[in-house]
Symmetry: C2
Subunit: 231 residues, 2 copies
DNA sequence: ACACTGTTGTCAACAGTGTTGTCATTACTG
DNA sequence: CAGTAATGACAACACTGTTGACAACAGTGT
């Protein structure tokens, strides 16, 4: 073992050499499994084949790790947006991709619904939205406000969907059947609209709501652009 | 008890002191203090002057308690909506009241951003929104979908604002200054819009975003109502 | 070649969380 | 008044994120 470079460097602490990248990828693997409470430091250690606390050599907190992971998912979103679209379709593509990625890594998206990463890929998303509202005809404060409207709304919607996906199946079932249970039992006199629309309320799909919310954003931008064009 | 009325009835435990109502009110008191991690079972016990686990005699879990507390806050929202408004102003009043209550009990609102209580006051809110979209001219599936759009969006926005309020002041400061820090350092070539709008982005207020998001919902309803009226 | 320095993984431990089971006392009911 | 159900106190459990001490490594300058 003296001079021999052949000696297999007997590392007692065998480590799967940990890097920030490896930790982020392990986090994504765990997040992709879809369980609500699986993304814990200890399970992350298992996934990495290392001691859980080793993660703290590469990230200050779990929160800092979460932000890094979230920024990676933002990269996935951006990569799946095709170029060469008009501003409306670009926003629709962003919404579609955001939702898809959010449902792929629900824990991440649900935890980020009120957060901001302030990292590389977030800048790209901001730039994308600003480009869209600019192309729509907005500028200055109008562009800034409408960017926030779009960005925050998208984040919120996608986080809601992700959180819903994280619920136990039983909770979700109770929620879906509530329209045909609790809401059917309300007093018809005091709640005429619920009584009248009970059936339709039960049949609303996520896709319909998604469509309505996304189109509402686009319409708002169009309207504002038209208003400033007229002045 | 007649003869022994003199004996100071040494009740080590003073009979039934805890009621669901008292627990809910203690929860609201804690929530109103605005701290993010103060709403815990043990502190609830302190606030009640009782053993923390006694709460479980009145609520199955902390989640069921949360739902009850949330429904109470919904009641506060409804009570502050004046009658006799048109559908648009009624929705605006609902949004205003929801935001006010959310900022009053941030922990509750932030925890409920993706939840539904399925309790008494939620029915009243649903009825209110359905009444508004009906008055706007929608019916059937249109009314149902647009109710969900409004309800979910409002819940999400208000939850975002509440969550933001729960952050440590330092985190919030970092967030607010990010537009004048990180975003100012981006490459002007790769991020022309961010570079151009940096100043405006830093100056966007919560009120502006709130206004844009609420009006977007109202506009979407109007537009849809006009479309179906034309057909 | 050697000591030095800083990094990284391991381990034990801590404070905190929600929750459950046990037990005695209180309140209610027939 | 007796019996039963409800209720609160207490101890304990499994879990969470996180920290400090220690040992094994990597790289560097002499």
């Amino acid at each position: 073992m003296s001079k021999s470079s052949v000696t297999p460097t007997r590392t007692k602490r065998v480590g799967t050499q940990l890097t920030p990248e490896a930790i982020i990828e392990a986090s994504l693997r765990i997040a992709a499994r879809g369980s609500a409470d699986a993304f814990t430091v200890r399970r992350l250690g298992e996934e990495l084949g290392a001691d859980p606390t080793a993660v703290y050599r590469h990230f200050r907190d779990k929160d800092e790790l979460l932000l890094s992971v979230a920024d990676r998912t933002l990269g996935e979103v951006l990569d799946s947006i095709p170029p060469g679209l008009g501003w409306q379709d670009r926003l629709r593509a962003l919404a579609d991709a955001s939702l898809a990625v959010a449902l792929k890594y629900p824990v991440v998206s649900s935890a980020m619904a009120s957060r901001t990463t302030r990292r590389a890929n977030e800048f790209r998303v901001v730039e994308l939205i600003l480009g869209a509202v600019t192309e729509a005809g907005l500028d200055g404060a109008d562009a800034a406000v409408h960017y926030r409207m779009v960005g925050d709304s998208l984040l919120a919607y996608v986080g809601q969907r992700a959180a819903y996906l994280l619920f136990d199946p039983e909770v979700r079932a109770a929620d879906e059947s509530s329209w045909t249970r609790e809401y059917r039992l309300v007093d018809a006199g005091g709640f005429p609209h619920i009584t009248r629309l009970g059936q339709q309320l039960a049949e609303v799909t996520h896709d319909q709501i998604y469509h309505a919310r996304v189109e509402a954003l686009i319409t708002a931008i169009s309207q504002r652009a038209e208003a400033v064009r007229g002045s």
